[in-house]
Symmetry: C2
Subunit: 458 residues, 2 copies
């Protein structure tokens, strides 16, 4: 995989002289990305492309090429693969569509190029792919613009959707591999690479189909002991499975079998497209959940009920708070206030400073041996006028005293984003869009902890 991810020299076969908006010129994108290795544009007609000497064929480059990227119509690809083999190219990315994702002719072409490569020990990524992104190496083969963040997040996917839409799925990507039709390089190759990569702490996977499930699952259960792996498997419905066959040529069927097998291997399995970002954020910043007893601290009784429902739906339960914890809040609350879990601190807030009450409450529940994790609910108003209700400072102070229990939060009101960002600044507390998402995120911390307990490192 190093030839794909950290090449020292790259040939771009079939690169166009057109650049700028609408040209989808991957060489322009690569330069913009700051790639420091050698670049050899290959184009029959041009002498120079974007300031680099161009070659009429890969054979005439005359220097070692680690990676060749073929960006040509499908009928021209097999010939180029042959020439790459002849020129000693180590690895090839085939960008274009129209192979196993299309018709019988496409399937035959794909088959032919794989045979040639395998016979000669050359690896192929794709076809039907944006290729790779490696922000630790200032390298990408994508013709679509990406962000350049050195995040400890790896991505293996079968579509550029997850590169370009990173903000929506994983927030950031540090290294990514789009295996496209996966004619040669597949999930297992990429997982082995990212699993051993010290830059990567968490691995996300978009999967349409899986060619060699046994090999992948055995590898995955080993890697999952070291790093969380999150899988978004698509093709759940009959219609989706059909669509997958004509997208990446994948056999996507047997969704329920996938679910069971992947979960058993210790992977976190996502049911729809709304959860990957929360899963990544949570697993990167929160300690695991040692038990399922959650304390809910809330300034709204109604919010506490919503949280109780959400926790139970996600396999967690309300902790039984100790007499000492209840006592801390009882001293601040009116005598008629029934205190329990959810711990409704609003009556206390009506008579004391919000920050004092909330800070004490969080400190007390975190110190309570009957509590494994905490969900905090608070309000987020206009900071300028209602700064006295901003709990980000007091919650962080309280949470810093106990680092072993996850603390998640849900804020409501017009200042949700601003105060949420402050709350997350020290990476001790995570804030979520909904109470449901906060509860679900706690549940995956529990799921991972249970996997690690069940399968200790040998």
């Amino acid at each position: 995989m190093n030839h794909f991810m950290e090449p020292r020299s790259v040939a771009i076969i079939g690169i166009s002289r057109r650049s700028g908006p609408g040209s989808y010129n991957l060489m322009e994108n690569m330069l913009h990305y700051g790639f420091k290795g050698k670049i050899f544009p290959v184009n029959l007609e041009a002498r120079e492309i974007l300031g680099f000497q161009a070659y009429p064929s890969i054979g005439e480059v005359g220097q070692q090429v680690d990676l060749a990227i073929i960006t040509l119509p499908r009928e021209l690809v097999v010939q180029q693969v042959k020439e790459c083999v002849a020129s000693g190219v180590k690895a090839v990315i085939v960008v274009g569509q129209g192979f196993a994702d299309a018709d019988d002719r496409g399937k035959a072409l794909q088959h032919e190029m794989v045979s040639i490569a395998k016979k000669n020990g050359m690896r192929i990524l794709g076809p039907n792919t944006l290729g790779v992104v490696n922000n630790f190496h200032h390298f990408t083969t994508s013709f679509m613009p990406l962000h350049k963040e050195k995040a400890p997040i790896g991505m293996i996917c079968q579509s550029g959707l997850f590169f370009v839409g990173a903000r929506n799925f994983t927030e950031k990507i540090g290294k990514g591999i789009d295996i496209g039709n996966a004619c040669d390089i597949g999930f297992a190759d990429c997982l082995a690479y990212l699993g051993e990569d010290p830059d990567i702490e968490i691995i996300t996977v978009h999967m349409e189909g899986l060619e060699h499930p046994k090999e992948f699952l055995s590898l995955a259960s080993r890697v999952a002991r070291e790093k969380p792996i999150i899988v978004f498997k698509t093709g759940q419905s009959a219609a989706g499975a059909r669509a997958a066959a004509s997208h990446s040529g994948s056999m996507a069927g047997h969704y329920d079998i996938y679910r069971v097998a992947l979960k058993q291997a210790g992977l976190l399995f996502l049911e729809n497209d709304g959860r990957m970002r929360d899963a990544v954020r949570t697993l990167l910043s929160q300690p695991l959940l040692q038990g399922k007893r959650i304390a809910v601290i809330t300034i709204t009784g109604a919010g506490g009920i919503v949280a109780s429902d959400a926790l139970e739906r996600n396999g967690l339960e309300l902790a039984r708070l100790s007499g000492e914890t209840i006592g801390t809040l009882a001293r601040l609350s009116p005598e008629w206030m029934p205190l329990g879990n959810p711990l409704d601190i609003w009556p206390a807030v009506m008579n004391h400073e919000m920050q004092e009450v909330y800070g004490q409450a969080l400190e007390a529940v975190l110190a309570d041996p009957g509590v494994d994790g905490v969900l905090c609910i608070s309000v987020a108003l206009d900071m300028e006028k209602f700064g006295f209700l901003d709990v980000s400072e007091c919650l962080n102070r309280a949470a810093s005293k106990e680092q072993q229990k996850p603390v998640v939060a849900w804020l409501y009101g017009p200042g949700k984003e601003e105060i949420g960002a402050k709350l997350e600044e020290r990476k001790r507390i995570s804030a979520y869009g909904t109470i449901e998402a906060a509860a679900w995120s706690l549940s995956i911390l529990r799921e991972r902890q249970q996997f690690l307990e069940k399968t200790p490192v040998p």
Copy 2:
């Protein structure tokens, strides 16, 4: 309800002289809101509060009072309710906590004040409530800051959470009633009011428990024929039901019975706290869905598969596109491209202008008699450099030619918010945070259509 929602004169009993940050002074908030009616502060010691003449008791106001708001500790409330009766006050809001939401003493106090009011034909809202908000009358009794938007959205809730957190639940509220413990004014009173209110087009409900289900359900099924009603019922879990009992004193049990009964009455039932905003936006801007056949147009094959899964999960199906529709796209696509539904237009986009292709595709599927609604998937990049990929203009132009079929969209990439806002500008297309949310939103348009078909207006 008019005395609560559009009072001409308001007494505030127990209002404090403290104002500014942390005082939670509801009179200050009311003035800030621009209320134009008469305000009589009642305070034993003050002569003047916030520039208004203060009275030592409600009896000494000596003028007609439509609405009295009692903001005093619980032991003092019953006496004030008696004085309100004696002074001919029409309606009372009891703000404070510590009644049926607390202990036996609280239950007894609540019972007593209701008995007095009922005997004398006076109505009580609360206790344990922020009261009301009516943005069409510049009026609120809330001591927490709210937004002042004349939105056609009504809210009935049992917690101020839904007023203060409006951005997170309904985006906006035009009129809202927090029934709190619902000692007298209940869901049915509010629903009757909002049902007949010409300012309100959609009614949202947060429900912990329901005192008189038969009356409510019969009224709701009548109102639902005129306006969509969306219910978020909490207390689903055993823990949540227990928490509800100590929040608003509600009997929240039998969640499944609630679900069946409320859905049967034609109400849209939400399963968690993440969907109310999407439901409101969708029902306010999209036509209903006449059948369940959806066309998916996408620039990413992977996204099309995710959409196929999401549609099936939400009870919808992929439309079978007509030969004419497919032909339109075939003319723009490479000959090897297998075209169907999801309609993957990316290969066409590689050879033609995005806006031309996407506009033609949407126009074609909307004109297709086999299509009931459309889900569009596109990319949203930096507008300045990638304006040529911004589809907001061409999609709106195409969608304006057919007003009877819903068009929903999902965008991915860093420009999601900006281009999403442009896409929604003309209120013809709705954009969502996830593909799952887009598919679910189509499903509620179908659910409402089916309810209306089943129960025609008599």
